[in-house]
């Protein structure tokens, strides 16, 4: 079974040289720590920054330079700043090669719910609906089972939807899944030490097992 960093490490392997990548808050943010050497990637932050660098050294924080999580960050050589309309313009026009997001639920058709829980204070969707509606390649990073022990890979989302038929791939503590275009989670890899049975028990939606399923290699 993978921990959060394990999930991030596995997702990092999906990043190809030359990609522009948008990372959501939570596990997706960790992915930046595991981008393989020799792979040149540019991180976009939807508040208006391309080429997001690491956190500043203590004492060098600039209140004018933050990321979409409102954290102080830095420039890299070649960074560019722009307004929020251009930022979502490049998202809508599919200039971002890969978008990595967290989720509360994903359906077997690739629908995603990640912004609102009925009965709880609603904080807003931020940029999530724009991202999922336009991104050509979305990987979801999530825990497969919620705190109540229920699967979050569902036949149909029960929470309010963020976007329809948009998720392409999911990486959880148990495995890697692609979405079948006619519905279903295609099991591509098992996390180290995890059995098909464990995965089946943690998947409420249709699980598709394409013959032999390899154990993932993350290091």
């Amino acid at each position: 079974m993978l921990d959060k960093n394990g999930i991030a490490k596995r997702i990092a392997k999906e990043i190809k040289n030359g990609y522009y990548v948008n990372l959501g808050i939570g596990i997706p943010t960790l992915v930046a720590n595991y981008i393989p050497a020799g792979i040149e990637v540019v991180l976009q932050s939807e508040n208006g920054l391309l080429g997001m660098g690491p956190f500043p050294y203590e004492g060098e924080e600039d209140p004018d330079l933050i990321n979409a999580g409102k954290q102080t960050v830095t420039y890299l050589k070649g960074s560019a700043v722009f307004d929020s309309a251009m930022s979502f313009g490049m998202i809508r026009a599919q200039k971002i090669d890969l978008t990595i997001l967290g989720a509360m639920e994903v359906s077997e058709y690739g629908d995603i719910a990640n912004w609102k829980i009925p009965g709880k204070m609603v904080k807003g969707m931020g940029g999530a609906m724009d991202l999922v509606a336009s991104a050509k390649n979305i990987i979801v990073a999530m825990q497969q089972v919620n705190k109540a022990g229920e699967s979050k890979l569902l036949p149909k989302c029960t929470l309010p939807i963020t976007g329809l038929r948009c998720v392409k791939k999911i990486v959880t503590e148990l495995g890697v899944y692609d979405i079948h275009h006619e519905g279903g989670f295609i099991l591509r890899e098992r996390a180290p030490g995890v059995t098909i049975e464990q995965i089946q028990n943690a998947t409420a939606g249709t699980l598709i097992i394409p013959g032999e399923v390899p154990e993932m290699v993350i290091d």
Binding site: S45, N47, P56, D64, S84, A85, K123, M125, L164
Partner: protein, 233 residues
């Protein structure tokens, strides 16, 4: 060149009236019009509708106007980090309209570009789509969203000149240039006000035609919401 300078924030907002629809620039607490918010507090105008990506925190930004109950309605994409906001929302004192961030930004921009509506895929199949026209175009569905109409846009820039030309600094740019284009009356506060002719025409983000009033703000706090750092090795 036409001179847009006013004395201070109080003069700049003299005609903002109860019930006005305002746009306020900024993302989180980054690039917010601190002096103009303080002047709104002093003036005490009520029943404001605020179009702003966020709603500040309890003791800074738009949060200050929430505390004094000057805001009737917030139109935002994300309103976390604010207990008073939550209390007023749950008690029904405050009306909140949540819209996707890209849609919010683009509705401002389109107002500045004189384009009254536009299609976007954001929100299709979600509760954001309720009551909205859906158009199918080349194999994809889009919601039709309208340009905003705002009585006043309150923006914060880094540098400005007497002709109203503005330059923003780093990610404090965010919604500011979009709202500057969109306001019926646009008021800009700047950290540094210079004479017309001192800014490079190629570097101006907001041409002065969009700005009706400009002044140099004071005592910028520029509070950091999430101070994240790394250790020196």
């Amino acid at each position: 060149m036409i001179n847009k300078v006013v004395k201070n924030a109080d003069e700049a907002i003299h005609d903002i009236h109860d019930g006005a629809v305002l746009m306020l620039g900024g993302f989180g607490l980054c690039g917010i019009p601190e002096n103009l918010i303080a002047a709104l507090l002093r003036k005490g105008v009520k029943n404001l509708t605020c179009i702003s990506n966020n709603a500040g925190v309890d003791d800074f930004g738009i949060g200050l106007l929430l505390k004094t109950r000057q805001v009737k309605k917030m139109i935002s994409s994300y309103v976390g980090e604010n207990d008073e906001f939550e209390r007023q929302l749950l008690s029904g004192e405050l009306d909140v309209e949540l819209i996707p961030q890209g849609t919010l930004a683009t509705r401002c921009m389109m107002a500045g570009y004189g384009i009254p509506f536009f299609p976007t895929p954001a929100g299709v199949g979600t509760e954001v789509a309720l009551g909205k026209q859906i158009v199918h175009h080349k194999g994809k569905d889009y919601l039709i969203e309208e340009a905003f109409e705002a009585d006043f846009a309150l923006v914060k820039a880094w540098k400005g000149d007497t002709a109203g030309n503005l330059i923003y600094r780093s990610t404090a740019r965010n919604f500011n240039p979009l709202m500057a284009m969109a306001g019926k009356i646009t008021i800009a506060e700047v950290e540094i006000l210079v004479e017309a002719g001192e800014l490079d025409p190629d570097q101006i983000h907001t041409p002065g035609i969009y700005v009706h009033r400009i002044f140099q703000g004071e005592k910028y706090e520029k509070r950091i919401e999430q101070r994240t750092v790394r250790k020196r090795l």
